[in-house]
């Protein structure tokens, strides 16, 4: 067991290293000379060279990579080109907004998707199941930004029920205000997640319903309700861990777009604005950070799965 976990952790180290190479390449491939952002018109050529030297840009690329890697490992991701603040600080500052939004969307998605798809599975091919299936098809096909715009149109522009952008009303500092701003972006993410998860959970539940233990329960006189919510539910919860790990990438991509549509001040909108401003250090920092989250999310899902279901270790 411990050996297994250790092996999985070790396996992800080369992965993280590759990610660092790709991120570094992203800075190096960037158009333009990074020194330019420090140069003012009245500097002499020697000054420019001195800046180049102080930034380590006069060294071979390999050396630059190792210096950069050493800094990153020490938590120094460099400084933003636009406001010269440390990149790590910028990211950490935006992180709570993203985690708050993602976390509540994820929580809501599971709360809705699990019962919904078990009900759908128990009425396989009936009207309700087909209806849920159709809606989930729409959910995986709908452009999230368009869904967001439509919600803004209905609930903010037409009905004036909810604010359309940002996280706080200026001058108001209450939790309820943040919740009100969060409802629409959270609804977009939740709808898309529920659609994705429910298709998967439904097919898991259907295969559980075909298992022998279900027949045995019925033979003992158990009601459909107790079979579904006592036994099938438990067995369906397990594979959900895996889809959570798998859907992590989509969650992050969703954050970039949804945060931008609603001007939610999180990591995603920071990422988009850094791309527009060609702010390489921030771009690199966000790439590294979100890739790390992805790798670690998958790792945790894998480990959790083998902890919950000990049969896994004999299979690998």
């Amino acid at each position: 067991m411990k050996k297994n976990i250790l092996r999985r952790v070790l396996q992800s180290i080369p992965l993280l290293w590759f990610i660092s190479v790709v991120s570094f390449a992203l800075i190096k491939l960037a158009p333009g000379d990074p020194v330019n952002s420090f140069v003012t018109p009245n500097m002499s050529a020697e000054d420019v060279e001195r800046i180049r030297h102080s930034l380590g840009l006069d060294q071979p690329v390999i050396m630059q990579y190792f210096i950069w890697l050493k800094n990153v490992l020490q938590g120094n991701f460099g400084y933003s080109l636009t406001n010269h603040r440390p990149v790590l600080e910028l990211i950490l500052e935006r992180l709570p907004a993203t985690i708050g939004l993602m976390g509540s969307a994820l929580f809501l998605s599971l709360i809705i998707a699990i019962p919904l798809s078990i009900i759908a599975a128990s009425r396989k091919n009936k009207l309700l199941d087909r209806g849920i299936g159709m809606i989930s098809y729409i959910g995986i096909s709908i452009p999230s930004f368009w869904f967001g715009i439509m919600l803004i149109y209905i609930f903010a522009v037409k009905l004036h029920w909810l604010p359309s952008m940002g996280m706080r009303t200026i001058g108001v500092d209450s939790f309820w205000d943040i919740v009100k701003h969060g409802i629409l972006p959270c609804a977009v993410l939740t709808f898309i997640n529920v659609s994705m998860y429910s298709r998967y959970i439904r097919s898991q539940a259907i295969s559980q319903l075909e298992e022998d233990y279900v027949q045995i329960q019925y033979a003992y006189g158990a009601t459909k309700r107790s079979v579904l919510w006592r036994h099938v539910l438990k067995n369906v919860l397990l594979p959900i861990i895996t889809i959570l790990g798998m859907s992590f990438a989509d969650l992050i991509a969703g954050a970039f777009i949804t945060e931008t549509v609603f001007s939610w001040p999180g990591m995603g909108s920071l990422g988009i604005s850094s791309v527009f401003g060609l702010d390489y250090p921030v771009i690199m920092g966000i790439t590294m950070f979100s890739s790390f989250m992805l790798v670690i999310g998958n790792l945790v899902a894998d480990i959790l799965y083998s902890v919950v279901d000990p049969r896994i270790k004999t299979m690998r």
């Binding site: 080369p14 992965l15 590759f18 990610i19 790709v22 992203l26 491939l29 960037a30 158009p31 396989k124 098809y137 729409i138 995986i140 096909s141 709908i142 452009p143 999230s144 930004f145 368009w146 715009i149 439509m150 803004i152 149109y153 522009v157 097919s203 259907i206 990438a249 992050i252 991509a253 970039f256 777009i257 931008t260 990422g271 988009i272 791309v275 527009f276 060609l278 771009i283 966000i286 790439t287 979100s290 890739s291 992805l294 790798v295 998958n298």
Partner: protein, 281 residues
């Protein structure tokens, strides 16, 4: 792909009405995109006096903020959206199939190397990477196609590899090997044809996600640029007029949704038709 399988596909279309609806929608959109030039309006002609007209008999979808006929723009936009989706899918399928088949067929070191590469590419949020590359290279339609294609083949490669692993142990592949056929020939003549159903299913799902990605990139302003337009870039423009001209946002978004939905439905029909026992749920 033998006759038996095509018969299954036909039967499945009869059974799943959504599949037929999907085919009809896609046919209409493709015809609209191909014959866009028949529209009486020039999609790029500015008519300042006709700004933001709501949908009417003369302008079916109204006009945009420059007085351009929105129906004509939607037809030409569909041309860009559909062809970007299709070509990006073609690149992804070719690369994914090649990598997957080579990886599965040779195994060992090559397999390890290629699959670790897939792992790395899959662990970087590819949408963000697309944004960055689009910002670096001046965004144009060919670069968007290449970028989307080259960053979305990984899941196809994984599926193809898994299928190749099982196919390469079959007797006919062994026979081909023993009879001295070249490796390239074995892969192209024996392995790829026998996993073609899987590839077709992945392709129809891939084209759906390629169209979604293009529209997201264009919506953010890092995809298709003026004077060209796609459904995504039309939405980018429409966002600013949501209060006064909501139809500008409704139409292109609805088209993206219907197209992506149709390709997903088609993928489902193919999936059930090719593996009726496993997938009929």
């Amino acid at each position: 792909m033998n006759r038996m399988r095509w018969r299954n596909v036909k039967a499945q279309f009869k059974e799943q009405k959504t599949g037929i609806i999907a085919l009809i929608i896609l046919t209409i959109f493709i015809i609209g995109a191909v014959f866009a030039f028949l529209s009486p309006y020039d999609p790029n002609k500015l008519v300042p006096t006709d700004r933001l007209l709501p949908p009417s008999a003369t302008h079916w979808f109204g006009t945009d903020d420059y007085g351009r006929d929105y129906f004509a723009r939607a037809l030409y936009g569909g041309r860009v959206s559909l062809s970007v989706g299709f070509l990006a899918m073609a690149i992804a399928v070719v690369v994914g199939t090649a990598v997957g088949a080579i990886s599965g067929y040779f195994g060992g070191f090559i397999d390890n190397l290629l699959m670790r590469m897939v792992d790395v590419l899959m662990s970087i949020p590819s949408f963000f990477l697309m944004l960055i590359l689009n910002a670096y290279l001046k965004p144009s339609i060919p670069t968007i196609i290449i970028i989307i294609g080259l960053l979305s083949w990984m899941s196809i490669a994984r599926i193809v590899r898994a299928e190749t692993l099982s196919v390469k142990e079959r007797e006919y592949v062994m026979y081909a090997r023993v009879s001295g056929q070249s490796t390239l020939r074995i892969i192209t003549k024996h392995i790829v044809p026998s996993i073609l159903p899987t590839i077709i299913v992945s392709a129809s799902i891939n084209i759906a996600s390629a169209i979604l990605m293009e529209s997201s990139l264009s919506f953010l302003g890092l995809g298709v640029q003026q004077p060209n337009s796609s459904w995504g870039s039309m939405l980018n423009n429409a966002q600013g007029f949501i209060g006064e001209a909501p139809y500008m946002a409704i139409f292109p978004g609805l088209f993206i949704l219907l197209t992506v939905l149709s390709f997903n439905f088609l993928g489902d029909v193919f999936r059930v038709a090719f593996e009726p026992k496993v997938n009929r749920r």
